[in-house]
């Protein structure tokens, strides 16, 4: 193959190149052993330089759930049922949810379980709970657009109000990162518990 990538290998590794140069470099290197090796060497250096100043670990935060993902997750929960264990299965949602969906990405990189909420109030809407088995995130999906539903979690003696669900079309949702392992998840309306769910952290 002609036109080896030359110094573009180092420029690629340093993040100097933009599209379409990046794609060109990757495409060439994938079929050219010397260039692939040079690219790998440059990446190894950059990776070591990056160790020089690594910042931080992520802290818990709340994320507003994009509408597209909400739809995809609802479809996913219904279609796949109790457990979705594979990254490949989660990948199938990508076309519907969009590649830039951070929440989909979070789910794609973890195993999670699915639990139906149990109604306490007779008029409580149907709701589902998805949670990562290692406690990296939880995702509440309420099947009606209720803005006044708050998500409250219990762990031991502690009760924490995670905030209200966000309305997305005909549903309302709340995605929470790093909640840890929880004993109970409650949905409250006007200060009263309307339904509960017990997250499952088992490998199923």
């Amino acid at each position: 193959m002609n036109d080896h990538i030359g110094e573009d290998a180092e420029l690629f590794a340093l993040g100097m190149l933009e599209e379409p140069e990046r794609t060109r470099v990757e495409a060439h290197a994938s079929g050219c052993a010397p260039c692939l090796q040079r690219l790998g060497e440059a990446e190894a250096v950059v990776a070591r330089l990056a160790l020089w100043q690594p910042p931080a670990k992520a802290a818990p935060r709340h994320v507003s759930v994009p509408r597209a993902w909400m739809a995809a997750a609802a479809v996913c929960a219904v279609a796949i049922g109790v457990t979705i264990a594979s990254v490949l299965q989660a990948r199938n949602l990508t076309a519907r949810a969009g590649a830039n969906d951070a929440i989909l990405a979070a789910i794609a990189t973890s195993h999670f379980n699915h639990t139906q909420f149990t109604k306490v109030a007779r008029d409580a809407p149907a709701a589902k709970l998805l949670n990562a088995r290692r406690g990296q995130w939880l995702y509440v999906i309420v099947d009606t657009p209720l803005a006044n539903v708050r998500v409250v979690v219990r762990h031991g003696d502690q009760t924490v109000d995670l905030g209200p669900t966000q309305v997305h079309g005909r549903t309302s949702t709340l995605f929470v990162r790093d909640p840890g392992a929880l004993a109970r998840v409650l949905l409250e309306r006007d200060g009263s518990v309307i339904e509960t769910a017990t997250p499952s952290y088992r490998d199923e």
Partner: protein, 186 residues
């Protein structure tokens, strides 16, 4: 086992992870995230300076890598280095495109805390290799890597032709590779 960059990669079990990654095992992406998530996040946070943007960047970059099954081959060397460069490139693109521009009001509260390197031997090696670079190459590299500047910006700042900046950056990385590979082999 030495990767092409002279970095010992087998001590952390990366060889098995690479095998799983190449075999498209469903657990490989999760394992990579568990193993390198903090490092990847750190690389993104250094560029984006906003916690939420860095997290999104890592997730999106990993997902993109997984969706391109032929993007990594054993001959490329270290999977960790490959992933880190993917994440850093994604972060740089976001920063430069302005699509995820910092919101100044939220920057202070969201800015990730710094953590210290605990591997002092590695730090000494890196510092030694950087100090051994010709000053003009080191200057270009520092502007590129630690300043997150493009080669065009560096050329403007230093008043140099673009080709000269590219060559200096390339030579700097090549020399660092040679120095670090030599150190790693000792």
């Amino acid at each position: 086992m030495l990767a092409s960059g002279g970095v010992i990669i087998d001590s952390t079990g990366e060889t098995q992870l690479i095998e799983d990654f190449l075999a498209r095992k469903a657990s490989a992406l999760e394992s990579a995230y568990a193993r390198y998530g903090d490092l990847l996040y750190a690389a993104a946070a250094r560029v984006l300076r906003v916690r939420a943007d860095a997290e999104d960047c890592v997730h999106d970059a990993l997902l993109r890598v997984w969706q391109r099954p032929n993007s990594f081959r054993k001959e490329r060397g270290s999977l960790r280095a490959f992933l880190l460069v993917c994440v850093r490139n994604e972060a740089l693109s976001r920063m430069r495109s302005g699509a995820r521009r910092l919101e100044i009001a939220g920057t202070i509260r969201d800015e990730p805390e710094e953590i210290e390197i605990t591997d002092h031997v590695e730090l000494r090696r890196l510092k030694g290799a950087m100090d051994a670079l010709p000053p003009e190459q080191r200057q270009a590299l520092e502007l590129a890597f630690f300043g997150n500047k493009t080669h065009v910006q560096i050329a403007d700042e230093l008043g140099l032709p673009l080709g000269t900046v590219k060559s200096r950056l390339s030579l700097a990385i090549r020399k660092l590779h040679a120095s670090l590979a030599l150190e790693g082999a000792r």
